[in-house]
Symmetry: C2
Subunit: 260 residues, 2 copies
């Protein structure tokens, strides 16, 4: 359901309120993105954070203050075209909404950052299993002990997503995801969960736990949720992000982002 | 001469005034960069320009206002460690100097952008000739008819560098430079000079003309000089850049920037 929708038609469904659910697996082959909206007077500092941490925060588009139409999806409106938004006040989640037209103003800047849904499609195409898709769950995400490089008032621990697979499949997954350097690229760790501060794989900080079968190792990729943690770390009066799993769907094709 | 200098020792020579010449071919294997310094109140807009034009303006480092020590060369000082600087006032070249300590202030932001010297080493290592190095000249650079995407008050035509080679060598050059996506990456054009508005290859807009031998085609890469044209396009009271060919030499190794 929604797998074969074009991004244009999907966004139309979202804008009209007919689609408020997650976007995993819909409009297959098109780039989905994380969204961060924040005041323009901190936009430079936040851009620095992203530039200094390109694995978790790959920049796909940055709009000028007040603009709502991304270049990677002309005719879209970022105030209405995300299925669910999160509103943070002074670093705390206030509520989730499906439209931010009344909150977004000319003093705010929007950033769109790469999302791992792009390489999940490529993993499946390469015959590498994606457990969270097999189990119909949200991917397991963990806050690691690795600190990102900070920028001004923005700081965050690195958040990773985890997919279990055999070592042989991990080799293939590294090859495949290396090509997708703008949607988190190659893994940041494999196997050694404790080395990055993860004590219990069955208790992710975000998303759902998935089964790890005998002979499988956890493979960790940098995760866009890092950008949300960074954005709210500055305790700003207002930060708007997408709700986890409820991404913005662009007109870019996954393959357009690959290097080779 | 200087080929085997470490970046640290080379910068020491530059800082003490013993090295004021070009940096092509020195400290081989280390990443050299373009430099742009401009007021912090336009830094966000200029970053947008670079983000929107990643082929000519690949961002390697951005310093916070007033900072002079890049993360890609701890202990360096950007006010003294470039052999020659250009000072632009209201978009016009005022002078060239070897130290900007008296001009740079706490209100300015420095950006370091990738430079093609990195892939020239890789081309030579792969057996592809680099004519400008063979002839001991500065590479030929042309202002094309292609417009970059603008950002706020910053705009520029795309500037390209050109290296002549056989079609077979061009295939290899495309493979080799694709790996170097942060130092301009794969070519933007080959053969069809007129399609990008270049009427006479023997009259480059910057650098020197080089010989094009029978059977060779011109191969064009996006060029960092684009960032200088963009920076001065806003007619700001003060913009500081490196002088063409007189780059900042970082501690990063060329291979650290490659994807594969």
């Amino acid at each position: 359901m929604g797998k074969n929708l074009t991004p244009f038609l999907l966004r139309e469904q979202i804008r009209s309120g007919n689609w408020t659910g997650p976007t995993s697996g819909v409009a297959t082959g098109y780039v989905q993105t994380n969204l961060v909206m924040l005041p323009k007077d901190v936009a430079f500092e936040f851009l620095l954070f992203c530039i200094r941490n390109p694995k978790p925060c790959p920049i796909l588009d940055v709009l000028e203050p007040g603009q709502v139409e991304p270049t990677i999806a002309p005719d879209a409106d970022l105030r209405t075209d995300v299925p669910k938004y999160r509103i943070f006040r002074h670093g705390n989640l206030e509520k989730e909404v499906t439209d931010v037209t009344d909150l977004f103003d000319r003093e705010m800047v929007s950033l769109l950052l790469g999302c791992s849904f792009s390489f999940e499609n490529a993993l499946l195409a390469a015959g590498v299993p994606v457990r969270n898709i097999e189990e119909g769950k949200n991917v397991s995400m963990y806050i690691t002990s690795r600190k990102c490089r900070s920028a001004g008032r923005f700081k965050s621990s690195l958040v990773v997503s985890m997919r279990p697979m055999t070592p042989e499949q991990a080799v293939r997954a590294i090859q495949v995801t290396t090509r997708f350097h703008l949607t988190h690229g190659a893994p940041v760790q494999l196997g050694a969960s404790r080395d990055i501060g993860i004590k219990d794989l069955s208790r992710p900080d975000f998303g759902d736990p998935v089964e790890i079968k005998p002979g499988e190792i956890p493979v960790f990729w940098a995760c866009g949720v890092t950008s949300t943690l960074a954005a709210i770390s500055a305790s700003l009066p207002l930060v708007i992000t997408h709700s986890p799993g409820h991404m913005f769907v662009s007109d870019l094709k996954d393959e357009e982002l690959t290097l080779l």
